[in-house]
């Protein structure tokens, strides 16, 4: 049985950052990820990294902007931690090779994003996520951090409130193995695939959220689902919001600007106004010029051409809001620690409390870097408390039996793919940008129905190697759990706040609703509790 001091689950930006931090703390760390790290969804992150640099800005101002966007649900301690640390983290990324765009003085250039009072987003064209992911990967191979690729964690091993490791399925062989560890860091990414269409990669199925949820941990602020205003094509593609700060204009089909370029609105308001524009919208880059497009929109220039057949310097790009990410996740403190000893979480699967009810553009990648690092360090510190654990053979044997039980289900007319599709379209229809009680009731009924179908569905393919249907079976389990948490929290919150917009309760109601929602698993159904927002001192 492989045994490590720290096991990182997930090879995206948060996971790789955590792995490096743990390694630098001198412990034995290994990565385990569902895809090769460079295929992670982080590669699509396009806005950049936020930090206050220079005398015209301050981390306090960054924190204030974050809190204002978060519409009353940000935890002050987490926001302060991120905004204070972000500049050092970004400088460190510069030193290890992220090719950030430079200004005329050769220092970090910054672009303006919606909701920021000054331009504070460092970027590497519109491929910052890709550049950070690749740079961190380079350092991980330099450190010779062992990496188990194409492994799916099927469950955590938690005994007496302590996480002792994980059980995982090797996708290439279909074999199960136990990984013992002193600490496990979940950095499994988001759950965007709970909706269709969405900007999420195939892998974003909420795997880590389910693992934590089933281990008894609460999922926080799950009703907060963010749409991205600049989706294009019928795929997962989207343009960086940096486009608006750079002078691209959002227009209606007649070419009339929908918003002024100096008016960089928050994503939620922008999405709702675009969604209500009946004839659709276009993003017009023509005033920017070919050279600047080439220097700053490396990805979009190519993708618009290949996927939409549009050359950005000659024609506007049709865009539409598209589900982007779940802002909530596994509740953690600012060290990524969860309520289970030895279990940490960071990145999109986690909720340290910085996004509140609406994430500021660029804060997502920033949070992955800052809290990824902190979770890695904290997990390494766990090693001095508990030695790497041995997982009992019987635990692995139970998991093998559970896997065999999945295969021995009788073949059914119903398929995991059909259930997944029904779920994603119901979520998009009833739990989208604008919600109401009737729609949410419909969604709840639908999720319950699909859970029943899931409990009976059989697999058509019984091969062991790269059995995608089996992978989908596990992913669907996670998506159903995530959907259950989203719908439960969205039904409960009878007000509008940030990205959660209720047409039947259009006003924000601080007196009754300025608190986090926390959904916990129960065999008889989820239960929802609330927890106060740590608003602290205004920064």
């Amino acid at each position: 049985m492989p045994k490590y001091d720290v096991l990182i689950v997930g090879g995206g930006v948060a996971g790789l950052r955590a792995a490096l931090a743990a390694r630098q703390a001198g412990v034995q760390v290994a990565l385990l990820s569902k895809t090769h790290p460079l295929r992670s969804h982080s590669a699509t992150s396009s806005d950049g990294l936020n930090a206050a640099f220079g005398k015209d800005d301050s981390w306090q101002q960054h924190a204030q902007d974050t809190v204002r966007a978060g519409a009353g649900l940000c935890d002050q301690a987490a926001v302060e931690e991120m905004c204070r640390a972000a500049s050092d983290d970004i400088i460190q990324l510069d030193h290890i090779g992220v090719p950030f765009n430079r200004n005329a003085e050769g220092k970090l250039d910054r672009w303006a994003l919606g909701g920021h009072t000054s331009p504070r987003t460092a970027f590497s064209a519109d491929m910052t996520g890709h550049a950070v992911l690749n740079t961190l990967y380079e350092q991980c191979i330099r450190e010779e951090i062992p990496s188990h690729e194409e492994w799916l964690v099927t469950s955590l091993v938690v005994e007496d409130g302590i996480c002792r490791g994980a059980l995982a399925l090797e996708l290439g062989t279909g074999n199960l193995a136990a990984f013992g560890a002193s600490a496990v860091v979940l950095a499994t990414g988001g759950a965007g695939r709970v909706y269709a269409p969405s900007t999420a990669s195939q892998s974003c199925c909420g795997d880590g959220m389910r693992l934590a949820y089933r281990a008894g941990l609460g999922l926080r602020d799950m009703e907060m689902v963010q749409y991205h205003p600049l989706g294009f094509c019928e795929r997962a593609a989207f343009a960086s919001e940096g486009a608006l700060g750079e002078g691209a204009t959002l227009c209606n089909p007649d070419g009339q600007p929908i918003l002024q370029t100096d008016d960089l609105t928050l994503r939620d308001a922008l999405c709702r106004s675009l969604a209500s524009a009946e004839d659709g919208a276009t993003l017009d880059f023509r005033s920017i010029g070919k050279e600047r497009i080439g220097a700053r929109f490396l990805y979009l220039e190519r993708a618009a051409n290949e996927m939409a057949g549009i050359s950005l310097d000659t024609a506007p790009l049709p865009v539409m809001p598209r589900m982007h990410r779940v802002l909530g996740g596994i509740q953690t403190d600012t060290n990524g620690a969860t309520a289970v000893s030895g279990l940490f979480a960071a990145g999109e699967c986690a909720s340290p409390g910085v996004h509140g009810a609406n994430a500021l553009a660029g804060n997502a990648l920033t949070a992955s870097v800052v809290f990824g690092r902190r979770a890695g360090s904290a997990a390494a510190a766990q090693v001095s408390i508990v030695a790497p654990q041995t997982i009992a053979d019987s635990t692995l044997e139970d998991a093998r039996l559970a896997l065999a039980a999945i295969f021995s289900r009788p073949a059914s007319e119903d398929t995991v793919v059909a259930i997944q599709r029904a779920l994603a379209s119901a979520m998009a229809e009833y739990v989208g940008l604008v919600r109401d009680a009737a729609g949410l009731r419909e969604a709840a009924g639908c999720v319950a129905d699909l859970q029943t179908r899931y409990a009976q569905v059989g697999l058509r393919h019984h091969g062991k190697m790269y059995n995608h249907e089996l992978l989908t079976f596990y992913e669907l389990g996670a998506l159903l759990d995530v959907a259950e948490a989203i719908v439960t929290a969205a039904q409960e919150r009878q007000e509008s706040r940030g990205v959660h917009h209720r047409s039947d309760f259009p006003a924000t109601n601080d007196a009754e609703w300025q608190h986090h929602s926390l959904v916990t698993y129960g065999p008889a159904g989820p239960s929802l509790t609330t927890s106060p927002v740590n608003a602290g001192q205004s920064a």
Binding site: L38, P99, A125, E138, E234, A237, Y466
Partner: protein, 322 residues
């Protein structure tokens, strides 16, 4: 649009030989090849295996050979590639296939990427803030780094096809990223590494990599730029391999002396004059060559016309190098 998909199938679990299976697919005109594969897997044959992740040309996971050309399946529209109603999908070439369209990139790509040590070691003195660097210096590094590691340049490479040890254009584009990053402190060490056998000098200038890169990153040109930088830095090929070094020295000395190549001398000096075992290995070849008149006597090599002029050119080049 009705399309026939001919898909490569190979399942080691059932012991069958690789073969093509045919599927009829009816999808909207905007559908991509990946949409087609997914449709087949979801609706017709759940045993079909392939990789896919971002669905937007960002991650390189879905590199496949589609209608005999290396492409990313997620951005290629069926309408753009279909020929006589048929789309043929295979794994990329020259690589071990694990199952169906899933292939093993470990030896083909990831090990080679690691071998060029493509990480940045901060150049001393490490500044307190960011490195002050001109945008022009980083723009090309950024572009090279936008590579999605799909492996299609290596798939098209004429050398890898016959020599698996060639590190290849993908890894050397990755090396470019580090070599031309002004923040890196291991400039010459890396150049020395990629000048070893299997590195930049093993490229045969066929330019196939440029033609195969779906992102138009021009891997062949980047490889040349790495090689040119090695020359500028005075790094000679194979400096870590004494045999290669002896070979080059002997070649040069021979041309300098007689104006052309003394092949007998080159063979002996490449092995090393004191390397008895190495010299002994040459013997069978020499014995076979003598009756055919193809074993020239080393060192008794007559000068060609113009040998003096050639010597003067070499002298001049060596003086300017010094």
């Amino acid at each position: 649009m009705e399309t026939t998909f001919k898909v490569y199938r190979f399942d080691p679990e059932n012991g069958s030989k690789p073969d093509f299976a045919t599927y009829q697919v009816d999808l909207p005109d905007s559908a991509t090849v990946m949409d087609g594969l997914r449709h087949i897997r979801d609706e017709q044959d759940p045993s079909l295996a392939f990789r896919a992740s971002c669905e937007r040309g960002s991650c390189g996971d879905c590199a496949l050979r589609i209608n005999k050309k290396g492409r990313l399946g997620c951005t290629l529209k069926i309408a753009k590639t279909v020929k006589n109603g048929v789309v043929t999908v295979e794994p990329i070439r020259n690589i071990p296939v694990l199952k169906d369209l899933v292939y093993d990139l470990e030896g083909f790509l990831w090990k080679k990427i690691k071998s060029v040590q493509p990480w940045i070691t901060p150049r001393e003195p490490e500044p307190k803030g960011e490195y002050v660097v001109a945008e022009e210096q980083l723009a090309e590094v950024r572009k090279a780094m936008s590579c999605v590691m799909c492996g299609l340049c290596d798939e098209g490479c004429a050398v890898i096809k016959i020599d698996k040890d060639f590190v290849g254009p993908a890894a050397l584009t990755k090396a470019y990223r580090a070599v031309f990053d002004p923040r890196d402190g291991q400039h010459n060490e890396r150049l020395t590494l990629v000048s070893e056998p299997g590195g930049v000098w093993d490229c045969t200038h066929c330019f196939e990599a440029n033609g195969h890169c779906p992102l138009n990153l021009e891997p062949t040109d980047r490889l040349f730029e790495v090689r040119d930088e090695a020359i500028r830095q005075g790094i000679r090929s194979g400096t870590r391999n004494p045999k290669v070094q002896r070979h080059y020295d002997s070649f040069l000395n021979s041309v300098k002396r007689s104006g052309w190549l003394d092949e007998g001398r080159l063979a002996i000096e490449s092995e090393g004059l004191t390397n008895i075992a190495g010299l002994a290995k040459l013997l069978p070849t020499v014995i076979r060559a003598i009756p055919k008149g193809k074993a020239p006597l080393p060192y008794f090599h007559h000068k060609r016309p113009g040998a003096e002029a050639i010597r003067r050119i070499i002298d001049k080049a060596q003086r300017s190098e010094a």
